[in-house]
């Protein structure tokens, strides 16, 4: 207990991440008077939805809503109930102790009784030659940021999920032609997104194919492809390549401290948000290798907030009992 006594202030809960999971956890914990601190990230506040356009499947917005607007609404909602939202990065965590320590990018350390990890996921890279070198020079992970630069050009999207379809459809606003390269013969995307992409005249599917190399001098000019069925090789001349092949959970900050699943996500107990460490909870994409939706992340943020509330209530009862016991012993 001496360690705790020297600490200026121990917060009830620090939430790391500011996507739908982080902000929903903030709304709930703020309304529970737990005065949450949200480390929203210095340049990543709002999370992945900040780079999207129309969100049509978040319930309650019958006409759809722009991703950035949805996230700014969530932030404002959390602030309204008193959440302390900081555009800062957590750089180091010490989670395996009763009072957790969170080092900040700006210097300084926060102490908290509980932590919610809502760090989301990061775009997966293809891992082929040329991809890194030409990143930002034709290779992109953000159609809404970079589509503008490919007016009247032929470009390619890799992937078969909803994100890939959304990117491809968005890119048809600018590009003259959008190839969608997919490893299989069928899309993973939802029916509505697949139908829209297939109906778009500018989109052409290249099935059963994977990119083996990104080529170009200083900027992308060609892709090398391999057929996944017969192994035959071919090339495709494009000036841009948008990679949308999925995401990996962002666990670098804490992967050595708690248990991960085989898929690399944070392991939680059943349908709770409880990780392998007491007082440490997870929410959103970081624990979810399958669903990865704004609404499931939001729901998961709510679960984490309620678990934190219960954990802190129980911890304070234990503390009170211990204090009482300590006081009664000398007498």
């Amino acid at each position: 207990m001496t360690e705790q006594a020297t600490v200026d202030q121990v917060h009830d809960v620090v939430i790391i991440g500011s996507g739908p999971a982080g902000y929903t956890a903030a709304v709930y914990t703020a309304r529970a008077n737990l005065n949450p601190i949200v480390l929203a990230g210095s340049v990543t506040a709002g999370g992945e939805l900040m780079n999207t356009t129309d969100v049509e499947n978040f319930p309650g917005f019958q006409d759809g809503i722009q991703g950035p607007e949805l996230m700014m609404n969530m932030e404002a909602q959390a602030r309204r109930f008193g959440a302390d939202i900081r555009h800062e990065d957590a750089t180091e965590l010490k989670l395996d102790q009763r009072v957790k320590e969170i080092s900040l990018g700006s210097g300084g350390v926060l102490h908290a009784r509980s932590v919610i990890l809502a760090t989301g996921s990061a775009y997966r890279e293809l891992g082929v030659p040329g991809e890194k070198q030409l990143s930002g020079h034709g290779v992109s992970w953000c159609a809404t940021c970079d589509g503008f630069f490919f007016r009247e050009q032929a470009i390619a999207v890799v992937g078969g999920g909803d994100s890939a379809m959304e990117e491809a459809l968005f890119l048809t606003k600018f590009a003259s032609k959008v190839y969608v390269i997919h490893r299989r013969e069928e899309l993973r995307a939802s029916q509505i997104m697949a139908d829209r992409a297939k109906a778009n005249e500018k989109i052409e599917f290249i099935w059963n194919s994977e990119v083996t190399e990104v080529r170009g001098e200083g900027k992308v000019s060609q892709l090398a492809l391999r057929n996944t069925v017969d192994g035959s090789e071919s090339t495709l001349d494009v000036t841009g390549l948008f990679v949308a092949i999925g995401h990996d959970p962002r666990v670098d900050l804490f992967k050595d401290q708690l248990t991960l699943t085989d898929e690399g996500t944070v392991e939680v107990q059943g349908r709770t948000s409880k990780t392998s460490l007491p007082g440490v909870f997870a929410a959103g994409d970081v624990l979810d290798p399958h669903y990865r939706q704004a609404i499931t992340a939001a729901g998961s943020g709510c679960v984490a907030a309620l678990d934190v509330e219960a954990y802190l209530a129980e911890a304070s009862e234990t503390d009170a009992a211990e204090t009482q016991q300590a006081e009664t012993i000398p007498a």
Binding site: V43, T44, M50, G105, G136, C145, F150
Partner: protein
């Protein structure tokens, strides 16, 4: 912390290429979410490093300069010294990461 100076296609030569100090140019656009996140980080960096100039260029309104430097991804921060493009950084990054990447210009 003040708003970064906006440069244009027509002022680029005077404001950037002929500038006495090294210049960081933030290529950005209204519709780019990460660009909005990067802005405040660059403003902080500018406030702390008087030996350089930090300016912004709207790629929508100034396509010629964006095309000249082959911008295909924003936000992009390009470093200029003595009229030469010497260093680039692509994507929204926190101030410490930018300081590291442009350490040569920050002196």
């Amino acid at each position: 912390m003040s708003e970064l100076k906006a440069v244009t296609d027509s002022s680029f030569e005077d404001d950037v290429l002929k500038a006495e100090k090294p210049v960081l140019v933030d290529f950005w656009a209204e519709w780019c979410g990460p660009c909005r996140a990067l802005g405040p980080e660059l403003e902080k960096l500018a406030a702390e490093h008087e030996q350089i100039e930090v300016v912004k260029l709207n790629v929508d309104e100034n396509p010629a300069t964006a095309a000249k430097y082959g911008i295909t991804s924003i936000p992009a921060v390009f470093g200029f010294k003595g009229g030469e493009h010497v260093k680039s950084s692509i994507g929204a990054k926190p101030k410490p990461a930018l300081e590291e990447e442009f350490a040569d210009l920050l002196g």
